[in-house]
Symmetry: T
Subunit: 69 residues, 12 copies
Amino acid sequence: MSDHVYKVVELVGSSTDGVEPAIENALDKAGDSIRQMRWFEVQETRGHIEDGAVAHYQVVLKVGFTLDD
Amino acid sequence: MSDHVYKVVELVGSSTDGVEPAIENALDKAGDSIRQMRWFEVQETRGHIEDGAVAHYQVVLKVGFTLDD
Amino acid sequence: MSDHVYKVVELVGSSTDGVEPAIENALDKAGDSIRQMRWFEVQETRGHIEDGAVAHYQVVLKVGFTLDD
Amino acid sequence: MSDHVYKVVELVGSSTDGVEPAIENALDKAGDSIRQMRWFEVQETRGHIEDGAVAHYQVVLKVGFTLDD
Amino acid sequence: MSDHVYKVVELVGSSTDGVEPAIENALDKAGDSIRQMRWFEVQETRGHIEDGAVAHYQVVLKVGFTLDD
Amino acid sequence: MSDHVYKVVELVGSSTDGVEPAIENALDKAGDSIRQMRWFEVQETRGHIEDGAVAHYQVVLKVGFTLDD
Amino acid sequence: MSDHVYKVVELVGSSTDGVEPAIENALDKAGDSIRQMRWFEVQETRGHIEDGAVAHYQVVLKVGFTLDD
Amino acid sequence: MSDHVYKVVELVGSSTDGVEPAIENALDKAGDSIRQMRWFEVQETRGHIEDGAVAHYQVVLKVGFTLDD
Amino acid sequence: MSDHVYKVVELVGSSTDGVEPAIENALDKAGDSIRQMRWFEVQETRGHIEDGAVAHYQVVLKVGFTLDD
Amino acid sequence: MSDHVYKVVELVGSSTDGVEPAIENALDKAGDSIRQMRWFEVQETRGHIEDGAVAHYQVVLKVGFTLDD
Amino acid sequence: MSDHVYKVVELVGSSTDGVEPAIENALDKAGDSIRQMRWFEVQETRGHIEDGAVAHYQVVLKVGFTLDD
Amino acid sequence: MSDHVYKVVELVGSSTDGVEPAIENALDKAGDSIRQMRWFEVQETRGHIEDGAVAHYQVVLKVGFTLDD
């Protein structure tokens, strides 16, 4: 594994349900164009508020994937 | 929307149930005195431990609201 | 001056025209309720994009004012 | 409480189920050797991806416990 | 204690005598309008210099207080 | 809006005229290949100096755009 | 000295009297189990408030000690 | 040079031999698809351990390249 | 260019007119004693407020110059 | 692998020869008491200077190891 | 005051007596060569340990002084 | 050693050969005008790329030296 090269992209996923679904939505969408995703790191957790309650969560995450074929 | 001014306050919500309920408790309580809350950002996630398990979660968050009337 | 106490609030100003007007809009609006503002520090500069161009700038700033009477 | 001394250790918990279970797994395991844990702070949230979905969450946390007897 | 909500304000205290008196001056003044202060965290320590010596110390601190009644 | 996924790219724009033109140059160029840009955040402001004066400004910014179609 | 290996631990000391006594309390307690402590770095300064005044100071510090025998 | 626009990507290179070879491996691989790379910045240096020794180094780096044609 | 050595100094420029003039004032003044300045990086943007409006902008910047002759 | 718990310790290794040997010295020494080390992250690189040249390099690193048996 | 230019230098002061005396020692020594010092900011507080107790405190501070004559 | 005062300067060294030679070049050049250098800390590691390979490494470092006589 020692000579692999990875690329890292930054994504923002969102969900009305919580932090984990927002992460999963981001990966699900990104998986359409990126294969071989290996890890993620949460950069920020935030969200929008409507009528005094959380309207949806947004999670900014970095996703690493293998650049090798 | 371009000439709005927002104010940002820092709150700490807590809950025995998890991260999202702690956020929602903070917004719920803050909504008593702050109207027109628009977004939040999580600054820190922490908690207290009792008998070797999580007693409650605490989430420090910034909340932005419109200053205009 | 050595025994003054200051309070610091966080504001977000915006403007279609640039960074400085966004700062000035924030101070102008905040001045309605805060007297004796003394200094500001820019925390973040960002903005929204429409049709591939800057729609408006947003500047997050901290503003310090005297708490003494 | 004012003269207590605490020690802080850094742990990484993981879980296939989410952020809170990963925290609880870390505390549960650490509780075998550390008594009198008092608080935790989340340092990082990340995870591994398999087949385009979250395989498991990893949470890096600091845990404080009383050094006094 | 698990369902309390706290608000956090940022203050700058100053004193000609040192770091601890600057913190205490800030709390003393803030106590006029904020009841139920619970904790503080030092954000920055700085000061002004006159004639090559410290004229006064300034300490920027965050103060958390209970929002519940 | 709650289930959108965004991608974030990092760009460096430059201009001999100032901070705002450097941001606008970056967006203008990026708009050739990225549609549906929604927001930007300034990461760094810097520049080159020639003959003791600013030769050009460089602004590092993150730009978010919708990944959905 | 060039081939020594150090280990670093994180401690929280507290004192009703101020920042320096909190540091000294932490070292004093840690010295029961750690010999050959060499340096410390302050990570955070905070405290608890009772009746509008500092009840005690807490100082989070890293302490380095020689791992060699 | 003042009106160029750059794009910045994040890569992770690895090598069994050290920090510099890990950087060079990342650039070598990235050069297959990115032309006109101009600069890099190291973000993190880390690695994996096997049998108590470094198995390979990993270097996270940002790479800037000209977006102009 | 590969064997040059640079020195970096930190300056604070100010101007009643905005961010760019504050940078230019700093470079203009520094140019009296520093030759061969090559680049700058903005560290902080702040300012003083009088009568509810910006009295002047202050920009903290690092300036790099060639140490070689 | 998803339910493992790791502990992270902070070490400082040093060497007259360079960054990689300092890392290896730290791991070599730590391996006497810590089995099952898995990864490291460099936190800081520094060193001492004697007679205008590097006397030895010091690398501060975090090392993660399995807490499970 | 709006067109002044300041230079900022970084100093490390030390004292066996505490944080404030370490700051004052740094300013006192620096005052031999720098006139017109105006403000300081503490960057780090640390120290050396001998026989399990603080041998001396070290405070890293930035000091700003007027560059104008 | 407890009453020494140090000054810290920021330098950028570069080398076609790697990180350590870039550090050594910076110290070597700085040693022409600074005597009594005591320690260094790496702030950033970066470099320029030509033809898809590292043209030279640049290391930003802080260097502390004794201000005493």
